[in-house]
Symmetry: C2
Subunit: 349 residues, 2 copies
């Protein structure tokens, strides 16, 4: 029986709606298994800018420091995207949160669900059985290097050091050891010095995990291989920007971005969020798929060591998939609302 404090950052767009359903499911888990989860909501993203002027108010950050886990909806608002001169952006809040909490590893499982093969843009026989874990470095690289502008020129610096690569590489080898013992490092070592450092460090660590087979792919080739032959991947390890691109791309294997959860782990507290964005066009329409947020909740339970509870959530999601209790992007014939999908899954837990 556990008592845990979960800070919820609903964020923008569909973020609040999908968080509600994840909370509903976690509450059903607490009830069934006799735990106690205290949810505490805080502002982050565009809503935080509107309310406080800052995308990550100090009190939000402090609440996260003292939480047992953080559940995030989504952040972002298009009103900032096409204004290159905007002084403050929702995304800064997320990046600052990742950095402040030291969330150095973003873990994104991608699975081709049998019942959803028809929904993928990929031919069913290419993706059937595909099941991979993408590990994206999350607090280094070009996202966090020095950046700046003059009237004429702009720059973004990408840096990595041994330590940043080492810690996530160990995670990746361990994850591969618990899965199918295959690790693929994705880099651009034929062009970038940072990639050569990645390759060097990973080659060094590989010796400590003799049971894991390692291969190395250039990022351009990896972007192609993900689609040509997704079953070849078990654990894919890569740096921040490449991971951003490849994990969104890999979502096509699952059939909908609305299915994919993620966990961001670090030393202080871990954060769980769907990989989809704030999808502002869908806000308030009841069409957002809550499954990515709900499965992020399952990853949160695993993080608490509650494997049986996590499995109950995953099984309930499978149930929704099998019975087509799904939002319109996956059930065009008789779609369910965000709220109905959440309630069904909570009920099945």
């Amino acid at each position: 029986i556990l008592t845990k404090k979960i800070v919820v950052l609903p964020g923008d767009g569909i973020g609040p709606e999908v968080c509600e359903e994840a909370i509903k499911v976690l509450e059903a888990v607490a009830e069934r298994f006799g735990h106690r989860f205290n949810f505490e909501k805080h502002l982050m993203g565009a809503c935080a800018i509107d309310a406080t002027g800052s995308p990550l108010p100090q009190e939000t950050l402090e609440a996260c420091y003292y939480a047992d886990a953080v559940l995030l909806g989504a952040i972002g608002d298009p009103k900032y995207d096409n204004d290159p001169a905007a002084k403050v952006r929702p995304e800064q809040g997320l990046l600052q949160l990742r950095k402040s909490l030291g969330l150095y590893a973003n873990i994104r499982p991608v699975t081709a669900y049998d019942v959803l093969l028809d929904h993928s843009p990929l031919k069913n026989e290419r993706i059937a059985g595909a099941d991979m874990l993408i590990l994206r470095e999350l607090t280094g690289g070009i996202y966090f290097g020095e950046k700046g502008r003059t009237a004429e020129e702009a720059y973004d610096h990408c840096t990595y050091n041994q330590e940043e690569i080492t810690r996530i590489a160990h995670l990746a080898f361990q994850a591969a050891g618990n899965r199918r013992n295959k690790l693929t490092l994705v880099d651009k070592a034929n062009v970038l010095e940072t990639s050569r450092l990645w390759r060097e460090v990973v080659q060094g660590i590989a010796a400590k995990y003799p049971s894991v087979a390692v291969d190395y792919l250039f990022v351009d080739n990896a972007a192609m291989q993900l689609i040509l032959n997704p079953r070849q991947f078990d654990v894919m390890l890569t740096e921040n920007m490449f991971g951003d691109i490849l994990s969104d791309e890999a979502s096509v294997i699952a059939g909908s971005l609305g299915l994919l959860p993620s966990a961001s782990v670090g030393n202080i507290v871990s954060l769980f969020e769907p990989i989809h964005g704030s999808y502002p066009q869908a806000k308030g329409k009841g069409i957002a798929n809550p499954i990515a947020a709900i499965l992020s909740g399952a990853m949160l339970l695993e993080h608490f060591g509650l494997q049986e509870e996590a499995d109950a959530v995953k099984e309930a999601v499978q149930n929704a998939l099998r019975n087509e209790v799904l939002t319109p992007e996956l059930n065009t014939v008789s779609p369910f609302t965000t709220e109905q999908v959440g309630s069904f899954i909570a009920y099945c837990v």
Copy 2:
């Protein structure tokens, strides 16, 4: 009736084999239309390192300066890839050549050929009719910024200035004007300063091309949209690294990397090359698809203003596709060799 000097850089792996077939087809064109093409081969890449110590010998570079066009096979050898400490690499030759010749725009057309839909990993109905032009900036960004290493740390700097973006943006708007009047800028303007500069410059230039509709996608979303709905794209404009990743990814639409040509244009001389790599495992086996190199030859003809000649080559390639005169990756039942495919296409010209 034209007389032209074409410098050929066969390069490594399958580069020489596919170049032979492209030359064969260009010679057939010269014969049929009464032109005179003089081909002159020079070393570049791993073969140049082996012979001279440098991946781009001075005499190769000079020959390119004085050529009317350059035809490149492919470069690269795995013996350099897994050695982070290698002092000299084949890729440096290619990057130095691009920079020295000022090849700032890499143009990659991607088409879903009707007769090849079954070969694509994507569902036929998703890709049927897809036809886009990817414009990749080729002499700026993180490829060419300052880079370096200490024992502990590595860095790669990404920079762009107004001028670098402006010149390729004009090319992109003109290309869109000659096609379906749609331009998509791909960037990561929610995170990178360089991307914000791209967006700012493109927004400014857009006003001069009122008939072209412009939209803006983040690179992670673009990597997904390319697979979800490739028909939405007409001209895609992007920076160097994103273009590298997205154009290889887009190759899945065509059904084989072995079909995709490219042109790299600049102010001095233009260069034509298949987008595939040196594919060393296939070297000498007669299984390399020469069509990408042959279609690169067609782009070279267009560059000379020889539209009828270029169309004859494209039509001959269609003929090979329709009759399945194709290498094993596209014709598993009764495959033809590299040389046979080239001869058939040359014959059809």
